[in-house]
Structures are given as structure tokens and as C-alpha cells.
């Protein structure tokens, strides 16, 4: 039996009709839930030593807040240097270390003393030694990579020489602040 042309057309129409009737997936409209999550800021500045006694320097450190230290230093001699070990805990993307002298007559150059090869902060911090009574901000960290746990470093203050036989007292406040960048 040979299939006529009209039968072939009929078969084709049937196949098309059946395929048109085949099921495709059915989908619902989408529904949305908005998510909002915050990571709270953490800024902590802690002294690793409460009392520091070094050549020509005697200092006491008081925590006056989670990110603030008050340092009272007695200095004497020709080249008094205070090295203050601290721990910085921070999860903001950039922050400032600020030193503000209680007395504007205080003169010192302040900076981070960490060895860049040993001190993790020393590798990433922009440390700018400045006179204590000139610009209170002496160090700035500006790196997303700093949004990490706790870092130990050393703050160094180099005071002006004190005349022989005299002792001078300098009080200043160290603060850790978000830079707002």
C-alpha cells in the first residue's frame, strides 16, 4: 500500500497537533523576601602593659573607654622615648589612630615603632611622625584587609630633651576612630 500525498499531509497535521498539545512546565509568579544584615562596628584600643618603665620614661596607662587610652608620662634625660605596646581590634575598613595632648606645650614626635617585617600593622599602616601639639592624628590605616581581628603594635613617642636634673610630666589621650572613608 502506498501512502497518498493527502494522507502524508494528514499525518503531518496530526503530529503537529499532538506536539502542540504536549505539556510544558508551569511556573508560579515569583515572590520576594528582602534581606538586610548589619555587621556592627568594633573599635578597641587596649594597652598590653598598664605600666611602662624605660630609660628616662615612666608611664601609666588607663583605659578611659573601649577605644581610648589615657597615658601619663614622666620624662627626664636627653632622649626620652616611650614605647607603648597596644592591641588594636577593628573591623571597619579604615581607621585613625589619634593622639591628643592634654597640654598644648607638650612636644613629642609620635609614630608606630613596629618593625615592618615583624609588626603586621607596620606593614599596612601609614605612620606619620608628627609633633604631638601640632596634629593630633599621627597614624592612619586605610585598607579593607585591616578589617580583621586583633593586631599588636607599638606606639612610640620621642620627646624633646629635658634639662639635666629636671622631670617633666606629659599627659595625652590615644584614640582609635573610624576614618569615615
Amino acid at each position: 500500500m502506498r501512502t497518498t500525498k493527502s494522507t502524508k499531509i494528514l499525518i503531518a497535521v496530526l503530529v503537529m497537533a499532538l506536539s502542540a498539545g504536549a505539556q510544558t512546565v508551569a511556573r508560579s509568579a515569583s515572590a520576594a523576601i528582602s534581606f538586610r544584615a548589619e555587621v556592627a562596628k568594633v573599635l578597641k584600643l587596649q594597652a598590653n602593659l598598664r605600666q611602662v618603665r624605660q630609660a628616662g620614661v615612666s608611664a601609666e596607662v588607663f583605659a578611659t573607654g573601649p577605644s581610648t587610652l589615657r597615658v601619663a608620662v614622666q620624662i627626664s634625660g636627653s632622649a626620652p622615648v616611650l614605647r607603648l605596646p597596644v592591641a588594636i581590634t577593628c573591623n571597619v575598613r579604615s581607621y585613625l589612630l589619634q593622639a591628643r595632648a592634654a597640654s598644648s606645650s607638650s612636644t613629642a614626635v609620635i609614630g608606630l615603632a613596629g618593625d615592618p617585617g615583624q609588626d603586621p600593622l607596620g606593614r599596612q599602616v601609614l605612620s606619620r611622625p608628627l609633633p604631638l601639639d601640632h596634629d593630633p592624628v599621627f597614624a592612619m590605616v586605610s585598607s579593607p584587609a585591616m578589617a580583621a581581628g586583633s593586631t599588636d603594635t607599638t606606639i612610640e613617642l620621642r620627646f624633646d630633651p629635658v634639662p639635666s636634673g629636671e622631670t617633666r610630666t606629659v599627659t595625652f589621650e590615644l584614640s582609635l576612630l573610624e576614618s569615615g572613608r
Binding site: 500500500m1 502506498r2 501512502t3 497518498t4 493527502s6 494522507t7 494528514l10 499525518i11 497535521v13 496530526l14 497537533a17 499532538l18 498539545g21 505539556q23 512546565v25 508551569a26 511556573r27 508560579s28 509568579a29 515569583s30 515572590a31 520576594a32 523576601i33 528582602s34 534581606f35 538586610r36 544584615a37 548589619e38 555587621v39 556592627a40 562596628k41 568594633v42 573591623n91 571597619v92 575598613r93 579593607p144 578589617a147 580583621a148 581581628g149
Partner: protein, 188 residues
């Protein structure tokens, strides 16, 4: 064409015409088929206002609330499965950082850190690939076998949410936002 063959061809033509009629007029009533999804809530927060801000490094950061998903459907004969999915449109930045706070090199929360629990089940990460959303940013919430008995039905499921930050101990302080999409599909 001789007589017997002509009769056979005529018979075949009648059969084909009958089949065509069946296929055109006795098809399932597709117009009535539907699947609808409605939510009992539209927002989940991890914020100080709800005392549940994220703790980087912590595996457990539960959302402030759960969300109920109500599914209703009327499916055509021949459907064999109804699957509900949750998905994000990005796997790497399911919850994106706030652009106003950070502009470069800023980490986001990936979908793999977002966990969803359905009813009394266990939390599961949003790492599957589904018909919807970005690759690796989905989770199948349920898969229901459809039979004649339940081709028209409904169900309600409760979703709980957690953000697992055990792999993100250094996530910076910021606000992270995103949208989870819920959608169902019936097959075939």
C-alpha cells in the same frame, strides 16, 4: 490505485481524522491550570534594631523572623511533580555590601553562607542550581509528587533563615542587603 487499496487508504484517512479530532478537542483544560505562591512576610533582618546583628566568624546568625510560604495549585493531568525553589540572582553577592560605605575591594555575603530551614528540617545552604536564579545560588524547598489525588491542592511551609559566617571571620562592618526569591514549577 485499485479498489482494495483505495478502501484501505480511506479507512486510514478516517482513523487519522478521528485522531486529529481527539487531539484538538479532547485536550486537557489548560486554561484552568495555575500555581500561586504567597508569603506570610516580606523581610528578614539581622540588625541592631532586632538585637541580632551579624557576628563575623560565627556559624549561627539567625534571622529575626521566619516566613510562611503558602502554595496553591491546580495542575493539568500529566503533571507529575511540583517543586518549590528559593534562589538569589547572584551566588557571590547574595547580600551585597553598601556601595556608599565601600567602593572598591569590598566583600559581599555569598549565597553559600545563607542557610534556609524548611519546617522542622535542618538548615541547608543556598548552593544548588535550579531552573531559576544564578548557578549555585538556589535551594529546593520541597518536591511533591503529583497524582490525580493532589493535582488540585495547597500547602503551607515555614522558612527559617541563618547566615553562617564561619567562613567569613573578617567580614567588615557594613550593611548587606539582598533579595531571596521564591518560585514554584510543575513538570513535565
Amino acid at each position: 490505485m485499485k479498489g482494495p487499496n483505495r478502501n484501505r487508504m480511506r479507512r486510514l484517512t478516517y482513523i487519522l481524522l478521528f485522531a486529529l479530532g481527539i487531539s484538538l478537542f479532547v485536550r486537557p483544560a489548560r486554561a484552568q491550570e495555575f500555581i500561586t505562591i504567597s508569603l506570610g512576610g516580606s523581610a528578614v533582618n539581622w540588625t541592631s534594631a532586632f538585637a541580632n546583628s551579624l557576628t563575623p566568624g560565627a556559624a549561627s546568625n539567625p534571622g529575626n523572623t521566619s516566613v510562611t510560604v503558602n502554595s496553591n495549585w491546580n495542575l493539568s493531568p500529566g503533571r507529575t511533580a511540583l517543586i518549590l525553589y528559593a534562589y538569589f540572582n547572584s551566588a557571590s553577592a547574595a547580600l551585597a555590601h553598601s556601595a556608599t560605605v565601600c567602593t572598591t575591594g569590598c566583600p559581599d555575603i555569598p549565597s553559600s553562607a545563607i542557610e534556609v530551614k524548611v519546617n522542622a528540617g535542618a538548615f541547608a545552604p543556598m548552593t544548588q542550581t535550579a531552573p531559576f536564579g544564578a548557578a549555585g545560588a538556589s535551594l529546593q524547598l520541597f518536591s511533591l509528587k503529583i497524582t490525580g489525588a493532589n493535582k488540585t491542592s495547597s500547602r503551607s511551609d515555614t522558612l527559617a533563615f541563618n547566615i553562617n559566617l564561619s567562613g567569613l571571620p573578617q567580614l567588615p562592618a557594613d550593611t548587606y542587603t539582598g533579595t531571596l526569591v521564591i518560585q514554584a514549577q510543575a513538570t513535565p
